[in-house]
Point group: D2
Chain length 341, copies 4
């Protein structure tokens, strides 16, 4: 059985295991104040060309989303997000549990546009009863989206402009940031995210680490006392160095980009093969998640040797499936899958 | 420099690193539904002689406290705890952030008694304005306490009786559970905790693991849908198997108890030496945390070769210090410290 | 200027002012424990033919919605509601501020069907990732809806059946309950609400009182300690008797129904005239709120002598307006409006 | 039976009833945007000599406390308060329900000093683990306190200085503000509160109104979007004019001060008589609440003709009782009580 089910079903890159071994008996202060975290923060700031940014490490994505958003919003504000946004559909109301509403905008591919955001802001602002309506206080987007789609540089800049016009922070969930950056269809860099957003995070859990998300706060206005929020939301790891060690290894020698590139190339190989064989896609194939539409017969056949998810139903004979490549996927295995298509 | 600063300044037992290495390329389902978590759950239930208990794995202590307590309380209820309870003093209001008040009881050594608890319950219940007062809805204790002190079996049973009399769950924070159980002054077992409490957790972070706390819910009434709470509070680890693997290794071959025993013996060796040399203790020395009172001159002298915390001030010439042993402390190093006392 | 703007722009029925005057120097216990509240509770239980129901008085609608829903939900549950539901759009996120998500269903007229509710429940329940999705824990509907539309007895019973099938409470926001019951298109009674729902409230603010909503809890399971929730949410009025006195006066001699009837008749008179003159309605005219579509020219003309809201835009020449009748509207004034149509 | 039980057991001053009658059929906009609220705001700003202050009307004290404090704090901050503070002991955890901790300071008479506040701020600030401790974000005091005691001008200025030094707002619960200001032992004015605090409220419920508290925000920094908070916390009254009308009547012709003066004089008459007869007081008699210590025999005797609360126990034969005067208390009735002492 060859698996294309998810990008978090294995462990981590071997360098991390080696580093954990090597540092195991080191004695360090807790809570992210150790030298490994310090190094990792420096490596990330360099990668973002953002020497004045703050960098914090959290264990997982839901924790990162909730901690950041709750830290940035006033009590009567909510987070504008696409209706398919992870915070809206797959976090068991974690954001609402901190007191804040998801302000959903319709979206076909998981993206929202600057125009949509501005309209939503103005709709509330200009309503005679605006004080009775949750005020948009932040814009949440994912790069790439839950359906593997990318924002272009032009789109990100447009969102950034609207947010700055209305003094609302722009926050990017980068749980799969690496795979987005590595796509040949991408024109954005970490430097762009540091320049055009107020807070974003670089996902480790799905991109080479055992766990961990690196929250980057380029905007000085949102840096103060962030660690209090981390502790309050249960996100301050006692042996914080585990996060430092992992991000050190990921950002040494550009490893984060190299392993993402490999996953991207595997996905591109597969996407091209699918296209050549005439398969249609539910969402444009851009990153490590591919959503081809297949006949149920073909799906059944493939399941004999390959593991993957059914994502949705097209009609009684056809479904959307999801193939995911990760930092551990090999081209060899992709070729085996292509052969059976 | 030999360090007695804390029990979370190093990594983990070597068996865990080996297991992480060995399982790294295994593909497993996420979120704690893998075979390692399953095995670990079984091992823990056996260790607790509680086949019908539920076991869940969370990453850290604050997360465990908040997730459990918020799951058990009604909105208008609070958690009875000693005033020095971790939830009250060292979690940046994480419990209040879920909407609940800490109902503090005075305590000299971090323990509270059944009598105190019953009085607090009756005080609220019998107040003419009881509807204007937060209702006690849970009792939170730590075993051992923040100051290293143990509840006796008699004391635990008494607390349990009061809680059951008033239909209030008893919850035990066992961040250092191993060190408590391993103390020669202890008369409690995991089986007792499963019998006399409603929820408790077995700390991994401070006792041999890289991270992780195993929440045990022996009381059926509180088992339903606990995983929803975990997800909502940001505590459901994507690669949940990391927790499973660690607790598997900790509970195989009684390792959890063996490594705790070693730390306990180191502490006992040190405590006896301190007593023999005439040092007084701020709190009775019972577990891996010792709080002797020393002259500031002596403290300064010791700091040349040993790292440890100053915990409080007695007078202008004397302070309380804290020596902590852990699963990685060696008797050799303890003897070096004793020599300098 | 004759006003058809809202049903809360005036004071109250004269009997309430007389009663306030008469009781002003009476000395009573606070917080709703006085004899007037007791009498009002009895009158309401009789009107609902629900002797075992609990009745509580709150000051306003948002307070009533939040207090009830937060009392009934578990932390990881949300409230199913129509997307136009007041809790979702016009309470500044008051429900989210208590930690709970609105689970919106599409709706054209503010109503949701039993079928929609069952589908939403099953969609979450049967999702492989159901633990990552907010669990439906309550169904919220308004009678009448924000757009003046009624549920039929058949529809209410169907909703009730689904809710009971899945052990989820059904809660009815009755801010305009009186006007709903008084409509000639209505086939429901207070007795039906007591029978088929778990909690509902009878609006006073918009139906004859200065302020006040009477929360009725027919389902024993949700009665316990409700007053704690009231106090915690800031809804326990010190001079609670003010609420008792008002509901006493409203429910004496069937006044609540009589004053509602008058408003309903005024609305029916107006609706028939509008229909006769060929106006279309954005929502079926059923209660005291009418939503005819008019040319902007006509609207401008009417505004010279009448006050009313513009509710929405149809095209560049036509808009939806809202005419509201209340317990103080006179047929004479309605006739003046009809004359100008 | 003559009653000295509380200051909220009757209705209101007659002028308010007359005004309600007179304005009953006026049509006004809702939610506090009417002309009566506007007038009342102006009268209050004049009384405070604070033309740039914002004034908002809320229904009750718990609502006012929670709405203000939750609006001013960041998520990881708590409210410093005396341990007997209303927010800490008599609001069913309403503040915690918004996510914030009460940071209690010991107090014998319900007051806290500038020195205590500064120590508490520094203790957290200078703790090596300060990020693990709730940060003081506001100081809450009551004027007068729950036990009827007053802050002097000197004490208020000292508190104000400490708060400003550490950039923490000072908030005064003035549920009984009128009675405090009217005491002959008082040296503070509304102008002082506007000058030395950041937010305070002027209680109506206990001082002449049916209900209502006027929140005054002299500090510009805390004025923005306060109405959003009011709506979110369920505190925006639909027929807001009811609050406007009441505060208009209270602040016309200095009525608020006159009626408070009468209650103060009744209390002073009673206090002097008690002193003369040799009764000791549990708290210094300064305002409309008196706490003499009496033999249980005497208490029993008095209860035949007078109603009052037992507040605490001194020994098996003696108790603390509470006599409260209000804006409706007559000197005649006080004299009857004195006669029986």
């Amino acid at each position: 059985m060859i698996r294309f089910e998810s990008d978090y079903s294995e462990g981590c890159i071997p360098e991390i295991l080696t580093a954990l071994q090597k540092t195991n008996t080191e004695q360090t202060p807790g809570y992210g104040m150790d030298v490994h975290c310090e190094n990792a923060r420096d490596l990330i700031k360099k990668a973002c060309k953002a020497p004045k940014a703050d960098v914090h490490f959290l264990v997982g994505g839901t924790q990162a989303n909730v901690t950041v958003i709750a830290a940035l919003l006033k009590p009567y504000q909510g987070a504008i997000c696409p209706e398919s946004g992870h915070i809206n559909v797959h976090e068991t109301g974690a954001l609402e549990a901190t007191g804040h509403k998801c302000l959903n905008l319709p979206s076909k591919d998981g993206k929202i546009s600057a125009k949509q955001v501005e309209e939503a802001i103005l709709l509330q602002k200009n309503d005679a009863s605006h004080e009775h309506i949750v005020q948009p206080g932040l814009v949440y987007i994912s790069f790439p989206t839950e359906t593997g789609v990318l924002y272009s540089k032009k789109e990100l800049i447009a969102l950034s402009k609207v947010c700055r016009k209305y003094h609302i922070p722009l926050f990017v969930d980068g749980a799969r940031m690496g795979y987005g950056l590595a796509s040949k269809k991408n024109d954005l860099t970490l430097e762009d995210f540091a320049k055009y957003t107020d807070v974003f995070y670089i996902g480790g859990t799905k991109v080479g680490a055992l766990f961990g998300e690196a929250v980057v706060i380029p905007n000085k206005q949102y840096q103060e006392n962030f660690r209090y929020n981390m502790k309050q939301r249960g996100g301050m790891l006692a042996k914080g160095r585990l996060l430092g060690i992992q991000f050190e290894e990921l950002f040494k020698q550009n490893r984060y980009f190299k392993i993402s590139k490999q996953a991207a190339e595997c996905a591109e190989l597969l996407a091209e093969a699918l296209e050549k064989k005439g398969y249609k896609f539910a969402y444009e194939p851009q990153t490590n998640q591919l959503f081809p539409i297949m006949s149920n017969k073909k799906i059944e056949e493939l399941r004999k040797h390959f593991a993957f998810l059914t994502f949705g139903v097209i009609d009684k004979d056809h479904s959307i499936v999801r193939f995911v490549t990760s930092f551990l996927t090999t081209k060899e295995n992709v070729k085996k899958l292509i052969k059976e298509l």
